[in-house]
Point group: C2
Chain length 420, copies 2
């Protein structure tokens, strides 16, 4: 079995969880860990020892780690605003890189990622775990069978009550607090935009053209702090820039519209607010624990059916395979393990990943573009074509079982998905 | 009991239904009916005879009907694009007027309605029945009790699979077909925008500032016709201008955002897609037969509860009253009767209605403004202030039981709504 050495940068709660998942993938050998906080870096060494039984080198400065020539790939789980620069530095140091999700601070750093990847031949993969979630993958499968007809409109959201995590950012060392203080836009677009983009072949025959964003007033965080930390809490009256709900409309080259909602400072149950509309049917994620509902034109009654029975019937081959093999029950119900497996397999075999630098740049750029648009009252802003025209003729990825562009039935054995 | 004479213009299926409801309101006397189609006008005379036992005068030209000096008010249920001009002509002829819902063709005709109403002292009321629907009114009541905290974001949609009605427009004489052929925008905004506007005091301390609209490609109608009328149907390949899904974002003076979705040519169950978000709670209309779900910050578990139990507890006083009196079981579960009662009461007593010409103009203008924005790629366009600054200090309506601006508890007897 092929193996490769990995370095991990950013050993927060999330980072250490992701590192554990990564080490569970066959062929992965973590040899170095890094965090700017000493306690987190030490914890990284401890976890590697516990899982692999080996002594990982410890760094507080990621640039020192990148100097090593025995590392093939980097997993980066730092704070949002540092992902792009660490990705760029990693590729410049001759390493493939995967970064945790988040949005870009500027269009320039997206271009830098693209240029660096093109120049070095190293890949940069956004670890968009939701691309590998079970419902989303069953939807790819059903779409590849033509069940929705032609897709015309998509919706998704990150509707997650994170008031406590945001407000206590100085205690939990999470970057959300400062981002909500200073920025106003679609700060976290990729959980929904990743899977939606794969459904309509963004960067492979389609692309984002323009977007418009609008932000509501900001009230939720102040109300939460006054209620939970007291009227005298030092930042209870801080004038947050981030609106409680930020709405973004994206227009695509092939005429589809995508609606995104960022909604993290309102009391509410979790939802990714998924909505897929086509000429033959519609899928809608209801808000209760990731359940969904579905309707097709040929139903006898004009009423939704629970998605569950369709997911069972049209389970994506990758999920079937993993269920049969006994999937590693990792974070977020398995999707973390799958996206890390996709990354590790590409890094170990030195091949292109299913989410490449063009996807990473396009998806992440939505954040800074939405800030621009919202600041200009919803003015449409162009989304750059990070492929410089290659999107027009780029083929689907079709490289093994982690492919997201099409359901590559040839890559799987014993698949008996019913055709419709 | 005071009575007044009414004329009815537009006796389509909808028009004749509305006329029957209107005649059920105490004090209403329909003396004249008009339709440009002879068969419909004759049907109007027949219905009046059947319900009132009187002989209504029949007209094919509404301008002839407007010459009569024994008519106090006009009910207009014609096709979308004629509502404004008939409203203007009615007020010029010295009659109050109520018009069925729809959007405006231009900002100019909205201003004409406003100027004519101000000059003549006659009112123009949009018959937005959804303002009087049971769930919406319970939400007003809960909001007036402060249960949502400060509202930050609202959503609504007209998500109604009307493919058959649209495509067969030449047979059913409905205006939708030609509008979908030629226009591209939020063609039907008021079912959701009316109630949402009343929640956040539009034109009375708040107003719409700007909007951005974006339309998806148009595919649904062609697919429907090919499937149901055959590939050779004469308009099966007609290049419809109206996108299958049109999304509109509105920014309000007090910082709220409103998201509207027009979605009538996709296979789907019905939804008005209501979403009310505030600092303390959230209401969400699920898609199943107008049920809703609700969540408040003080719930023990982060999970939705069915709205039904809250609606029972916080039933709006008007609905309570009508339930006790034995509500006239009219169209759309009672809301048609309520909105017509509000109109008739204002006309009979010659007082201002709860939905006035400023509301009518502001809500209807969203249609032509969204066409402008969509045509310019989502460019923000200003929404005119049809009150010319009066919105800043206008008080809530507070005039009897049909009030929508505040829950006027003084106007109702025997109200025991629990305060929170």
């Amino acid at each position: 079995m092929k193996t490769a050495n990995f370095g991990v940068i950013g050993i927060s709660g999330r980072g250490s969880g992701m590192m554990r998942e990564l080490m569970a993938v066959p062929g992965v050998n973590v040899v170095a860990v890094c965090d700017k906080y000493q306690d987190r870096a030490e914890n990284g060494v401890k976890i590697v020892k516990e899982v692999q039984g080996t002594d990982a080198a410890m760094y507080l400065d990621y640039k020192e780690l990148l100097k090593r020539d025995d590392i093939s790939a980097i997993l980066c789980c730092t704070t949002w605003i540092t992902h792009c620069r660490i990705a760029i530095d990693s590729m410049r140091a001759g390493k493939h890189v995967a970064i945790e999700v988040g949005g870009a601070a500027s269009v320039d750093e997206c271009w830098q990622m693209v240029h660096t990847s093109e120049k070095t031949g190293k890949f940069c993969m956004l670890l968009e775990n939701c691309c590998y979630d079970r419902n989303e993958m069953a939807i790819y499968n059903m779409n590849s069978l033509g069940m929705f007809g032609e897709i015309t409109h998509l919706e998704g959201g990150y509707r997650h009550d994170l008031r406590e995590e945001i407000c206590l950012g100085r205690e939990n060392r999470h970057g959300r607090l400062v981002n909500f203080m200073r920025r106003n836009g679609e700060l976290y677009p990729t959980h929904e935009l990743g899977p939606l983009s794969k459904l309509i072949n963004i960067n492979r025959g389609n692309r984002f053209l323009t977007l418009c964003s609008m932000a509501s007033k900001s009230r939720g965080l102040n109300v939460w702090m006054k209620k939970n930390k007291g009227e005298d809490y030092d930042i209870a009256d801080f004038p947050f820039n981030e609106g409680d709900v930020v709405t973004t409309m994206i227009k695509c080259a092939n005429g589809e519209t995508i609606l995104l909602t960022h909604d993290c400072s309102t009391p509410r149950p979790y939802s990714r607010n998924y909505n897929v509309q086509g000429t033959k049917g519609i899928y809608n994620e209801t808000d209760d624990e990731r359940a969904g509902k579905i309707y097709f034109d040929d139903f006898e009654r004009e009423d939704w059916k629970p998605f569950k029975e369709f997911r069972d019937k049209y389970e994506h081959p990758l999920w079937k395979l993993y269920s049969e093999e006994g999937i590693h029950a990792g974070g977020h119900g398995g999707m973390d393990y799958l996206v890390l497996s996709a990354f590790a397999e590409a890094a170990i075999n030195d091949v292109k990943p299913p989410i490449d630098v063009y996807d990473t740049a396009a998806w992440m750029s939505i954040t800074c573009l939405s800030e621009q648009s919202a600041a200009m009252g919803g003015m449409p802003v162009p989304v750059p074509d990070f492929t410089n025209g290659m999107w027009i003729e780029r083929e689907p990825y079709r490289r093994g079982k982690f492919c997201l562009d099409e359901v590559c039935r040839d890559c799987f054995e014993n698949i008996d998905g019913e055709e419709k």
